[in-house]
Symmetry: C4
Subunit: 250 residues, 4 copies
């Protein structure tokens, strides 16, 4: 979830495939996305006999803590995106190569599938019978869900780009992973009941494959990726420019 | 929510109107206030069939995260006030010009209206039927509500000024947006049931326009702005002076 | 709640009484303790018709945010103790003079009384009828309550001293107010139902005066102050010594 | 919970036993583990007549605050492990000697027993009748509980090692105790209902001794220690190597 320092041209991909660091980055991405999926699924579980489990606050706070801790602890190893929406933003900003982005996407999906499977194995049927990918609330229309996922992911990616922009870094700007994680908490609070606050196509896809539930699946790809696309374009063409005029008036 | 570095005299407003940076600042203010409104309205929604939604904790924690993340990520672009109470304090301290403050006020109100409308569109009638601006609890008298909004906004603005005072900044003082956001969380916890903890006239106004509910509307302007006015005066004339005598005894 | 930099000998108290900074410090202590009391009382209010108000989590998180924001924003003005237990620890460590400590104690009690009165005025009888100082759970014996308040305040003051020790400060040690506030949150969670987690004799005293409820009042003075006393002694004679042998083995 | 700076060879243990600093470290470990145990047990208490006590969120947030505050305040005194899983990881990385690790283990178990006993004394039978060590949910099989404790502790230790790795420290990497504590909060949210989210054999052992409840006790040793073992090996042999190839591609 942190802007990687890789700025490889496409022609360098062959060199990269031979380096040890590249595979370590992939392993870091795989592990962190796997643990993120475990947290996302287990935090939201409702245990029949235990009230106050799986509340929105619990999922929001728990995901904030996971995202922050994983991105902070292992950020050097390839950036720790854990989410195709983040990967898309970084490709659009030429922070990573398209080929690296594709590999990340595959790894994120595999990690999410493995994470969902792990939860299905270690928890009893009492709760895993209710295991499902993020889904629309029955009263929310598909186009509304699309707009909600777009809004939440726009909000998330816009904050990601602002918080990690090296050009604008000052003293107080030293803890981007925490800022990003706080946005995750807000967005989960805002959309958990209506769409499940996915913002992450890989995580929804992983759970959909394992549980074979594909309701409204398209919107969990198109919504987040559209939001990420728009946020990145707006950031790139409007807020990424710290030109002289800004220096002067400020 | 961060003290902007603009210290423009009124005569400079024409130059400002021609600069690109000025419009970028306005766009940043518009976007952040829009997202703040989306969070404020959706975090507090109660979904009929889902217990534990819209709790005070959820609104408090969610708003804390939003305020911190938005102010931190985009603070350079005009300060990110998102609230006329903050704008008032900065005018009184001559941190921004009155003309800039007026433009900010208009933009904050527009963003809040747009945000409320967006929520009305993307969420189902099940919840949007209950959409309303911050309102008084039926047992709370108008003058009590006025005092409560005044207290909460005084607390908020007093902390804003203390946390962002460049003259007193030291090592540990590097994260003003987080401190401000923590005060938002507290104030929401303190006044959510009695007045809705607005502290933000623009946000209440935006929701009032869209829902056409104007109960006790005056106090959501007079309360917060009075609190901000008093806190700023007190800060300016008592705590803003780091004179030699302070250096000596300390 | 922050170790003040004042190291005045008793003979300097006359000079101090003539300085402007001294009265500003007192005003800062009065204001912050007043706002702390408002938060403490209003966060824990149960509103008959609103479920999920006044939960332990809400009080814990809200108080954490208030303590951190107030101590951070205004820490330079006399340290912002807001609690006689903190003032006692700083007297024992000779960080402040006994005469200054006594003045602080009086100011803390006045602020707590004023805060309780303010809450009684601005909230409706529906909730203020239940206004009371921190009290023992009926199943908890007095000596148990004494031990609980002692434990919680020991824990709090021990962390305060560790977090603010200038001699041991390193890079990661830059945000003592947050650390202290996190301990407040924990301690409220640990003891809220059994003793009300006061840890603060002034706040309990203020509410007792206004509501005229004095049940087990002694233990809210003796418990916290004993805990603070023990924690300070232990810290001073064991953990305050960073001698050469420590440097060597480490 | 912080990587200690001790890198003593086994032959130095005799010197260490003679140093004052060594016994101070042990006292710090004893005190912090004792307070951690008090928090863990009292935060999760359900008080019959008080709804909303002992919720998973409360335990998660409270433990996060305790772990962060204790590790931050006293980290210099021997590292403040408070958990045999952390001690195991540091032995495997040769950060501490095996003899020191054994002494830590004994101290952690003693502190957990003392903490459990203290809670039994200061709280009324209403709640202490339900005092018990972390236990399996009746629907969770033993091998599942083993996997869950392994997963949670792997996640925790992996983050601990990433967050405290001095070789990879940068500007934003200055607050490891907070990152570690956030992982504790997540893991408690993920596994509280299924296994009690122990991750800490000493704490479970202490409560088991005092309450004489030994159900599935083995898995609270083997699960966490296996998770810690695997995480440390993976970190040591894959992520601890910052070789030149990494510098090049990054």
């Amino acid at each position: 979830m942190e802007i990687s320092c890789d700025r490889l041209s496409l022609s360098k991909i062959k060199t990269e495939l031979k380096s040890l660091a590249f595979y370590r980055d992939l392993l870091a991405e795989l592990l962190t996305t796997f643990f993120l999926t475990l947290s996302a699924l287990s935090l939201g579980m409702t245990w029949g006999d235990k009230p106050y489990t799986g509340t929105v606050e619990q999922v929001g706070i728990g995901m904030m803590c996971t995202v922050c801790a994983l991105a902070w602890s292992l950020g050097e190893f390839g950036g720790i995106h854990m989410n195709p929406s983040v990967t898309l933003a970084l490709v659009l900003l030429s922070e990573i190569t398209p080929s690296r982005a594709l590999i990340y996407l595959v790894i994120q999906c595999i990690a999410a599938m493995a994470g969902t499977k792990f939860i299905q194995v270690v928890l009893p049927p009492l709760v895993t019978d209710h295991l499902k990918p993020t889904m629309l609330h029955p009263d929310v229309a598909e186009w509304q869900g699309f707009l909600i996922e777009g809004w939440l992911t726009f909000h998330l990616i816009f904050t990601v780009l602002g918080a990690t922009d090296e050009k604008r870094k000052r003293d107080g700007y030293c803890i981007p992973p925490l800022i990003i994680a706080m946005t995750v908490a807000t967005c989960i609070g805002c959309g958990f009941v209506s769409t499940g606050s996915s913002m992450n196509p890989a995580m929804t896809f992983g759970a959909a494959v394992v549980t074979d539930i594909w309701d409204n699946h398209w919107l969990y790809w198109v919504g987040p990726l559209s939001g990420s696309f728009l946020a990145t374009l707006l950031y790139k063409f409007v807020f990424d420019i710290l030109d002289n005029s800004n220096e002067k008036t400020c």
